[in-house]
């Protein structure tokens, strides 16, 4: 029982990282109808930016954090202008191929600069964690969970209670109609890319002290986050968050009780089961299909 509680905590922590990246997937998908295969690379680049600022330049952690997120906002804007915007009137296939190309460019760009050896990034806190009854709460996992919770609340407020959130939703539902109302569709898509890049970057920065900073980390996180979006029902914001956390828990329990080497396999087993038996996901078959 004690071990189960411990695993649950770890699972929610790692699942929160998947949830943040999955949220980025869903937001871009809803705004552009395209899966951004470079979403995981946003996490990788942000983790390397943290290494640049906090390790190489030895800046304070909080300042490095802000600079890295600022860098991600800039990368999101550049990504939109360089990858999506020139292809926005084309079908989804050229856009998807462009996002795959951009992801290869980012991964190999980092390889050229830093080489293949993984980099180490310290966690935010000096204290490694606290013991709460039978469960040891690692401080980095606590931070991840707290940031994810805060973002879920922010996301809800932003999309449901601000006009810009409503305009973003309107744009994702019917771009032509949104433009007829005077909503700047290109500005809405720009905001979406910047926000998604920052979300992905946040996930990368938070998970870096746990996983090591490597050029492969983007691909691993992206695959898990992609599985999370399928579980949640593609295009559903709540589904992405619940799918991410669920996947983290399944993976952690699978590794502990079944087999550690097959840890990554559990995520894909769940993904395959969902694709076969419930391809619309837990929250699928809602608004979009009925409209």
């Amino acid at each position: 029982m004690d071990q189960a509680l411990q695993l649950l905590f770890t699972g929610i922590g790692i699942g929160s990282v998947y949830a943040l990246v999955a949220l980025g997937f869903v937001l871009i998908f809803r705004a552009t109808n395209v899966v951004n295969f470079a979403q995981g690379e946003f996490s990788m680049v942000a983790a390397f930016l943290m290494v640049v600022f906090a390790v190489d330049l030895a800046l304070p952690y909080w300042l490095s954090f802000i600079l890295a997120l600022g860098g991600m906002a800039l990368l999101g804007a550049i990504f939109n202008l360089g990858v999506y915007y020139p292809l926005r009137h084309r079908t989804f296939l050229p856009v998807i191929i462009a996002t795959i190309g951009a992801s290869i460019l980012m991964a190999n760009g980092m390889l050229a600069i830093y080489g293949p050896a993984p980099q180490v990034l310290e966690g935010w806190f000096e204290t490694p964690g606290i013991q709460l009854g039978p469960v040891y709460l690692d401080s980095q996992y606590l931070l991840i969970i707290a940031v994810t919770l805060a973002l879920v609340v922010f996301n809800y407020w932003f999309f449901e209670h601000t006009m810009i959130g409503k305009k973003l939703q309107a744009t994702s539902q019917d771009k032509e109609m949104a433009s007829l109302l005077g909503i700047s569709v290109s500005a809405m898509i720009m905001i979406t890319f910047i926000y998604s890049a920052v979300l992905g970057g946040l996930a990368g920065i938070l998970v870096a002290p746990i996983l090591f900073v490597s050029i492969q980390m983007g691909a691993t996180i992206a695959l898990k986050a992609f599985a999370a979006t399928i579980i949640g029902g593609f295009g559903d914001v709540t589904g992405a968050i619940i799918g991410g956390v669920a996947l983290g828990i399944i993976e952690t329990f699978g590794a502990a009780y079944v087999s550690v080497p097959y840890k990554d396999a559990f995520a894909f087993m769940v993904l395959i089961l969902f694709l076969v038996f419930r391809p619309q996901g837990i929250f699928g078959e809602r608004v979009a299909e009925k409209a």
């Binding site: 006009m163 409503k166 433009s179 007829l180 109302l181 005077g182 608004v287």
Partner: protein, 250 residues
């Protein structure tokens, strides 16, 4: 000077020529109705005015200024609001949110838009009780009301209405046209209709489009009096309309 002047407008979609030299005027304060069969170019004319379709030739003057080739976001900010065919109410947003977004063409705070949307329900009392329902839950007639209310939130000088009666029961069509006769007191309206009887009943002027050209224009009673037009478009004398006769029997 007319509020809207269309001069020799040409629009093509790839190889297909949709409009080939359409010219007409809409005077301020009038309701002008465009009639014609499916595919005659009625919707394309509205899409060109609101900036959704780019003219390949000709000009569109609004208040004396050329707006041909401008994007839809710029055009609605100038005061032309387009309620397109099919209502296009955002399915995942509530009725009130849909209506509030109609004011996106001008700088207005959320609270102000909310007040204006509430006031809009006085003109559309039938949809007041659906204020917090999601768009996809509404019926066709209710969606049409929402779409028109949303279009009016732009505070337009010129309202473009595309087939507001399409697919609606007769009693709902009458309700929609009652609202159009309310709107015309304050706003110039360019109306596209297949229902010629209703379309002409509120109009000051009518035009008939055929394969991308204006073939006839005049006062509603002049159009109504034209035998050929009545037979072809206005559903009189039980003659088979041209476009139906041209259709292969399946």
């Amino acid at each position: 000077m007319a509020l809207l002047q269309i001069n020799d407008l040409h629009v093509r979609y790839g190889e297909i020529v949709a409009l080939q030299g359409v010219s007409f005027d809409v005077a301020e304060g009038q309701v002008v109705t465009l009639l014609g069969a499916n595919g005659a170019g009625k919707s394309t004319t509205l899409r060109a005015i609101s900036g959704l379709a780019k003219p390949t030739q000709g000009d569109i003057l609004y208040d004396g200024k050329s707006i041909a080739g401008l994007g839809p976001e710029a055009i609605v900010r100038m005061g032309i609001s387009h309620v397109p065919e099919g209502r296009r109410v955002f399915p995942g947003l509530t009725v009130k949110e849909n209506i509030m977004l109609g004011g996106s063409n001008r700088r207005a705070a959320k609270a102000e838009l909310s007040r204006e949307a509430d006031a809009m329900f006085d003109l559309f009392p039938d949809i007041r009780k659906f204020a917090n329902s999601l768009g996809w839950t509404l019926s066709g007639g209710q969606l049409q009301m929402v779409a028109v209310a949303r279009g009016l939130m732009a505070k337009p000088r010129l309202l473009l209405l595309d087939e507001p009666s399409l697919g609606l029961a007769p009693v709902i069509v009458q309700a929609v046209f009652r609202i159009i006769s309310e709107i015309r007191r304050t706003t110039t309206v360019l109306l596209v209709e297949q229902n010629a009887r209703m379309g002409l009943s509120v109009a000051d002027h009518g035009y008939v489009l055929e394969t991308g050209k204006i073939v006839l224009g005049g006062k509603p009673d002049e159009l109504w009096g034209n035998e050929a037009i009545r037979a072809a478009y206005l559903g009189g004398h039980g003659k088979v309309p041209k476009e139906a006769a041209a259709m292969p029997h399946l």
